[in-house]
Symmetry: C2
Subunit: 448 residues, 2 copies
C-alpha cells in the first residue's frame, strides 16, 4: 500500500482496448425484440440508425475490442483520468487505517462527465462510415453536451432534441451545446411527425425523454446522411465506458490496493458498467473478490424493486424490447435532481449481472445523497453531480459499516461527473427544499 | 521531440517549492506606499490583515520557498495539472510541422481555474497562525469560489463580499460558494461603515470591486479572528502561482521541447506570473530564450497603454500605492465578458518585467478572443473561460505569424480556466451581440 493521494497514469499506459463482458457472462444475453412483432431484432433492422461497427460491437464475442487510434488520440486530451485516494474524506469520517476510499474522477472530461467516453467513438465510427450528421436526444443535457463535443471534434453536424421543459429551464446546457456548433431543438417540435402528433394533442406539452427519442430516431431514419446515437443502456455504450475500469485496475495496482467493493450510480447503467465490468473479469479470473455495487435512487429503484422481464426501452414504443429490470415503460419517476438516474429500465448487461448474483444493488434517498455530496465537496474539494452523489453516499455507508464491524475494507467508487451545472439542486438542498420520494410507498410525481 | 498529446507528471514529480522572482529581478522592486502619507508600508502596517508568513513572502529574498506538506497534500487532489499538445488546433490552423502549440490546463482544479493555487496556501498560513475566519471580495466569483473551497478544506469560516450586480446576475457562482459553506454578502452591505456610506449616497448602488474590497478589509480589520485575502496583484500571490510554470518546465522537458514564447492573459497578473516567472529564471540561466507575452483586453490595456507610476490598488484608496502600470485608479473599464481582466492596474512584479523589457505585452479585442475560444472548443474540446481566451487568441496569432514568416516556433500558453460558468458570454457571441471597446479610441462604459 503506497501513501499517495493521486494515481495518475501516463498516456502511454492508457489501455488500448475496451473490455467486452459478453463472452464472460454466466448466461448468454437475450436478444432485443421488435417492439411490435416481438421477433428478435438483428443488425439489418438497426442499420438505418446505427453504424455497422457499433452494431457489431453490440453482440460481439470478442473479449477485447481495440480502440481505434483516432479515438485514442481524442481520449488523450482528457484521459487517463485520475484515481484519487479520498484522504480528507476518510479523515472527516474518522475511519480507521484499514478502511480506505478511492475514487476515479471522470469530471475532467470537456463535458464534465463520463459521457464523452462513448460519444467520441460513436461519432468516429459513424464518420468513418460516411455519415455526416448525428441526431440524438437529451434530457438534462449531459449526453447532448457530450455528443455535441464529439461531433465538433470530428467535424460532423449534430442535432439534439432537448426535452422542452429542460430547454426552457436549463439554458446553460443548451448554450454549451450550441457553442460546440450543435443545433438544439425544443422537443416536441414541428420538425417530426412524432412531434407534430404530440403538439396536436397538447400544444403546451413540456416534452419527455420518450418523445425526444422518437423525434431523434425519426429524424435519423428519414435521412441517409444521418444516424442516431444513444448515451446509455446499449451494450456498445457499456463497452466504451470500460476504459474507466481498465484504467482503474492499473491505478489500483500502483496504489498496491485491491478494492473489496466497487461502487457506481445507475441510471441507464453505463458508468456502473464502465468501472464494474473490468472488475467482474478480474473476479472471474480469481484476481479479485470485489463486490460490485450499483446505487440507484429510491424514487426510481429499477434494480431493487423492478421486475426482470422484456420491456420497451422507451415510453412510446419506438425502441426494441429488452430483457432487463424495469419499473414499466410507462412509469414516470418523481422529479429528483439526479435527472440522469430517472430511467424506468436498465442496461440488459447490468440487469443480467444483478439477476445472476454477480452484482448487488442498493437504493438511496436524494437528501442523504446531497448530505454526502456536500461533505465530499467540503473535504475533497470537488462538487459532485447529483447522479454521482449516489455513489458517494453508498461508498460512505460502506466505510461506516466496515468501521462499525471492525473490518478492513477498500472501497473504490466512480465519481462520474462534476456538479457545476447543477447548482440549483444544491440551492434546493441548502434551503431545505429537497423532498424524498419512495417508490415503495407509492410516491411518484411528474418529474422535470 | 516526442509525439504525445498529454504530458502528465506523477504526483511524486510535483515541484515542492515555489519560485520567488524577486532576487533575480534586474532592479529591486519599489516598496508599497501608504495611501495617505505616501510613506513606505512595512509588515507591521499590514499585520492586522495578513498572515505573518504571507507578509514575509511578499518581500522575501529567497529564490525558492518550500511548499508546506499540508499545502502539497491539497494540491495533489488536482495537481500536477496536465500539459497538452494542441494537435487538433494545430491541424485546424494548418500549421507546418515546425510550429507547435502546447497549453497548460488549470481548469482541472475544483474551482475550474488557477485561483486555488494561492487560495489554498493563503488559507493554510492563516489557519496555522490561529486565524479562524477569512474575509475577501469577489467580482464575477472566480476568486470567491476558490477562497470558499480553500476555507472549507481547512475547516475555516469564509465571508465573501460579492459585487452587488454580480450577486444578482450570477446566482450560480454565489450558490457554489454557499455550497462550500461560505457566507456570501451582496456589496455594498449594511454590515460595514464603507457599505453603509455608499448606500447612504445611493441606496440602489450596484457595487464595484473597489467597494467590495473596502468592505472586506474593514471586516478583517475589525475582528481579531479574521484576516483578509487577495486573489491577484500581490507578490505572494504571484509566488504561489509559479507552481504552474515549474510543472510546465518539467512537462516541456518530457516533450523534449523548449518554448519560443510563453503566453498568458493578464488582469491582476497572477496567472501570467505563474507560468512566465519560472521561464524568466530559465532565460536568466541561459537555458531558454522564451519571449514572455502578456495578453490584455483592448478595453483595459494597462500594460500597453497605461503609465508606469505609483497608484492606488483600488478605487476607494483603502489599499497601498504600488509602482505599476496603471490606467488610473478611477478608470472604469468597459463591460467586457472577461471580468477578471477588468483591472486598472497590474501586479508590480509583472509591471517591472514589462518596464525592463523582460516581458512583452499585447492588447486584443474580445470578439477576436471569442473567435479563438470557439475554434479552440471545437477542436480541443475544452470550453475556455473568457479571460483565458485572450491567451488563446495571442497563441494562435503567434502561430499564424510564424507560418507566414516561414519560421519554426514552439508556443506555450496558460489555459487558466474553463468557461462552464460563462455561457451567457458565449450566448452573446453566438447571437452577434458582442461589442468591442477600444481604450485608445476613448470608448469606455460602466461595466458589469
Amino acid at each position: 500500500m503506497t501513501d499517495k493521494t493521486r494515481y495518475q497514469l501516463d498516456e502511454s499506459d492508457m489501455p488500448t482496448s475496451w473490455y467486452n463482458i459478453i463472452p464472460d457472462l454466466p448466461v448468454a444475453p437475450s436478444p432485443p425484440l421488435h417492439p411490435k412483432t416481438g421477433e428478435p431484432v438483428g443488425p439489418a433492422d438497426l442499420a438505418p440508425l446505427f453504424a455497422t461497427e457499433l452494431l457489431k460491437q453490440e453482440m460481439s464475442g470478442e473479449s477485447f475490442i481495440e480502440i481505434p487510434e483516432e479515438v485514442q488520440s481524442v481520449y488523450r486530451t482528457y484521459r487517463p483520468s485520475p484515481l484519487i485516494r479520498a484522504k480528507a474524506l476518510e479523515k472527516v469520517l474518522g475511519l480507521p487505517a484499514g478502511v480506505k476510499i478511492f475514487y476515479k474522477y471522470e469530471g475532467v472530461s470537456p463535458a464534465g462527465s463520463h459521457k464523452p467516453n462513448t460519444a467520441i467513438p460513436q461519432a468516429f465510427y459513424n464518420k468513418q462510415e460516411g455519415i455526416k450528421r448525428i441526431s440524438t436526444e437529451t434530457g438534462a443535457g449531459q449526453w447532448g453536451s457530450a455528443m455535441s463535443i464529439a461531433c465538433a471534434l470530428y467535424g460532423m453536424e449534430c442535432t439534439v432534441y432537448m426535452v422542452g421543459i429542460s430547454y426552457d429551464q436549463k439554458p446553460y446546457r443548451r448554450l454549451l451545446m450550441e457553442t460546440y456548433g450543435a443545433e438544439v431543438i425544443s422537443s416536441p417540435s414541428k420538425r417530426t411527425e412524432a412531434g407534430r402528433h404530440v403538439l396536436g394533442l397538447d400544444p403546451d406539452s413540456l416534452g419527455s425523454l420518450g418523445i425526444a427519442i422518437s423525434e431523434a430516431v425519426e429524424d435519423a431514419a428519414g435521412r441517409d446522411d444521418t444516424h442516431y446515437c444513444l448515451g446509455s443502456v446499449l451494450n456498445h455504450v457499456c463497452l466504451h465506458q470500460t476504459i474507466i475500469g481498465e484504467e482503474a485496475i492499473l491505478q489500483m495496482e500502483l496504489a498496491q490496493a485491491e478494492p473489496d467493493v466497487v461502487v457506481a450510480c445507475v441510471g441507464g447503467g453505463s458508468n456502473f458498467a464502465g468501472i464494474a465490468f473490468p472488475y467482474y473479469r478480474r473476479n472471474t479470473q480469481g484476481k479479485s473478490k470485489a463486490r460490485l455495487l450499483a446505487v440507484e435512487p429510491k424514487a426510481c429503484p429499477t434494480l431493487t424493486a423492478g421486475e426482470y422481464r422484456y420491456d420497451l426501452g422507451d415510453e412510446a414504443g419506438m425502441t426494441p424490447q429488452m430483457l432487463m429490470y424495469t419499473l414499466g415503460h410507462d412509469f414516470v419517476p418523481a422529479g429528483i435532481h439526479a435527472g440522469g438516474l430517472r430511467y424506468h429500465g436498465d442496461s440488459p448487461l447490468v440487469s443480467l449481472l444483478v439477476k445472476e448474483g454477480k452484482a448487488e444493488a442498493v437504493a438511496v434517498h436524494q437528501k442523504a445523497c446531497f448530505d454526502a455530496a456536500v461533505m465530499f465537496a467540503r473535504s475533497e474539494g470537488i462538487l459532485p453531480a447529483p447522479e454521482s452523489s449516489h455513489a458517494i453516499r453508498a461508498a460512505i455507508d460502506e466505510a461506516l459499516a466496515a468501521r462499525e464491524a471492525g473490518q478492513d475494507r477498500t472501497i473504490l467508487f466512480n465519481l462520474s461527473g462534476h456538479g457545476h451545472f447543477d447548482l440549483t439542486a444544491y440551492e434546493a438542498y441548502l434551503n431545505g427544499q429537497l423532498q424524498d420520494y419512495d417508490f415503495a410507498a407509492g410516491s411518484m410525481c411528474e418529474g422535470e
